[in-house]
């Protein structure tokens, strides 16, 4: 499709923040079957994710366009803690985050949305959920203008 863009097309980077190996594997398989070309970073926990984000800051001090999938139950720094951190950080405040987690507890959902997440997805069926999620993210990234 021909779309007028404000800035040159730069493929969005995906960061998958999840400590579960299986989830990561499932995501990677899904990417393969969907033939997505976006670069993917994988962080095992909130600490790693923050480190990676900091490293990704360019010379201009700006982050490249990112979409994050975030699991809530992680060691060292959990998803909600991580959200708290980035929302207090000037550089990371505007990051687009989709929570992708096993928990369907209303309290978790409410808390996550408090931190201005873009969406909350509950991991149901390992194969299909990730596939559908990634498909959605791909379309999202192609259509939506991301903040800098």
């Amino acid at each position: 499709m021909n779309v007028e863009r404000a800035q040159p097309y730069e493929p969005v980077r995906f960061m998958i923040v999840d400590d579960d190996e299986i989830s990561v594997m499932a995501l990677q398989r899904a990417m393969k079957s969907l033939k997505l070309a976006n670069p993917v970073d994988i962080a095992r926990d909130g600490v790693e994710a923050l480190e990676m984000l900091n490293q990704a800051i360019g010379p201009t001090g700006a982050l490249p366009p990112y979409i994050l999938t975030l699991d809530l139950n992680m060691p060292k720094m959990g998803g909600l803690e991580f959200l708290e951190e980035i929302r207090n950080n000037e550089a990371f405040k505007k990051l687009v985050v989709f929570v992708l987690t096993t928990s369907d507890a209303p309290s978790d959902i409410a808390s996550a949305y408090e931190k201005n997440i873009a969406g909350y997805v509950v991991k149901e069926d390992p194969t299909n959920t990730f596939r559908d999620a990634l498909e959605m993210l791909s379309d999202y990234s192609k259509l939506v203008v991301l903040p800098r």
Binding site: I22, A26, R29, T127
Partner: protein, 656 residues
Amino acid sequence: MLLADKNNVKVVTKLRLIFALVVALLALSAIVSGYLLVQLKDSQTNSINNSVPTLSYAHEMANQMVAISDLTVRLEDVSNPVDVQKIYTVLDEKQAALRKIVQELLEEADQYDVDAAQLEYAAIYVNTSVQTVVDAKIKMIEVEDVIHTKMAQVESIRQVFVGQFEPMSLAYSTKVSDSLDAVYNSSNASEVAQSNLTNNFNNQRRLQEFAFGIYALLDLIESAPISSGAEYSEALEKEVQSKFKRSTLILADFDGSGGSRRAWAKILSGLRQLTLGESGLFENIRTVHLLEAQFNETHTSQLNEIKILSDSINTIVETIQEEVKASTSEFNKILSTIIASLIILGVGVVLVIMLANYLVVERQINNRMHKLTSAVLDIAGGKHDREVDVKGQDEIGKMAASLEVFKMNAIELQRSNTELEQFAYAASHDLKSPLRAIESLATWTLEDAGDDLAPDAKSNLEQLLVRANRLSRLQTDLLNYSRAGSPDDSVSHVDFTRMVEDVSEMLDPDHHFKIYLGRAPSGLATQIVPLRQIIINLVTNALKHHDRDKGQIEINVDIKGNRLELSVSDDGPGIATEYHERIFGLFEKLESRDKVEGSGLGLSLVKKMVERCKGSIKVLSDPSKERGSTFVFDWPYTELSVNELIKEPEKKVSGF
């Protein structure tokens, strides 16, 4: 002392003690009052028995005496013997009555400080005096009659004299006049003529003198009966006597009358006899005066005796009055004593009750009961940290101790339940992740290298996947089951038609079966979420266990009192009676897992949810008679008003 050991004595015993005390006080007051009332009665009886008859006698006596006195006075003026007799009859009656009364009174005379002898004498005197007075009166009347007769005779004598004097006086006047004429008309009045004149003149003069004397005498005599007083009569009598003498003297001097003188002397003598003689006028008059005196004297004495009687009566009456006064004051005293003692005892009883109320009822029973009740309510309401601060060995104390035990049990139970729930949740939740991993890896392996595997290996892997899936579903069901402990309790309007349609769409989208709503009320609200789950589970079961490709499942809703009665009926093979209990058990299944997929949790979940809402579920089925099974359970509901119905937005509750 009972009070010191207060909480060790049974509550009931304490109360009984109090009642016994109150009853004792009341009995005491009754006894005291009874005794005093008896005294009262006695004093009154005395008073009445003694005083009243005596008073009536006294009254009677007074009446009689007054009557006697009156009658006696009246007797004085009576002049008719008949009347006298009448009065006498009455008098006699009265004095007899008086006599009788006095006799009665004499029996009590010494009681009343009265001289009995004097009393008796007086009564007797009254009796005799009446007789005397009447006799005197009768006699008086007789004598007065005699006097009248004699007076009449005197009157007739006067007439005789007048008859004689007048003509003679006239004759003499003529004679004198003739003589005078003879003397003054002749020149030589003879001495005879002169002496005739002198004789005639003297005779005339003497006649006149006699006549006047006689008239004067007669006048005097006639005035005698109407004179008053014996002394006056006596003086009169004397004067009459002297006049008689004078007249007799004059008559003696009288010589010119001839035979008249003798006749007159005779009459005069007769008159003298009539008046001054035996049983003459003056004697009778004297008699009358005597009788009068006697009458008056007797009357006076009678009055005196009557006065004596009257005084005695007064004494008696006064004494009785004193007695009655004393009796009345005694009565009042006793009455006051009764009232006072009743008041005191009443106050005593009230005080005892108040004291008992405070000491026992309030402090020992009510207070502690109150504390116990509030503790029970708090603990029942879930406040497990409430202290039970009631102690003692009596029933209340024991209840408090038991309450403490219950509280501990409740705390333990709650803790245990919470632990269990947490365990169930943790277990089911934490199973999820590895399960998913197993499923994913098996799937991926099959995907990636399925064709490269030996058929056995592939089949094994497929079986692995199937079992993994089963485990996953079991885990989900377990999770739901554990969650059923705190379901979504929100109440909202329920559209049964819609619900059944949704369930049908979800569980049987290809409409192999006819899943429909039979009858159902509208305008109700209930906890939809758990109810939906129950319907889903029951319909799922019906579908799973149906032995045919086509069939029907009917759902009915009825109102039974303040609960709904729901039934889910199918036309499947039915459930044998011996399994009706078992099927609701945890993990119970009637078919092997390979024939019918299911965790065995569905019905136990349904039962748990139904019982959580204080209901019950049962199954009606007998395959030996006919096909089909019906599950019946009850469920709470509330009615919605029309306004609420309008306000409730139409909610489409989408799939689980």
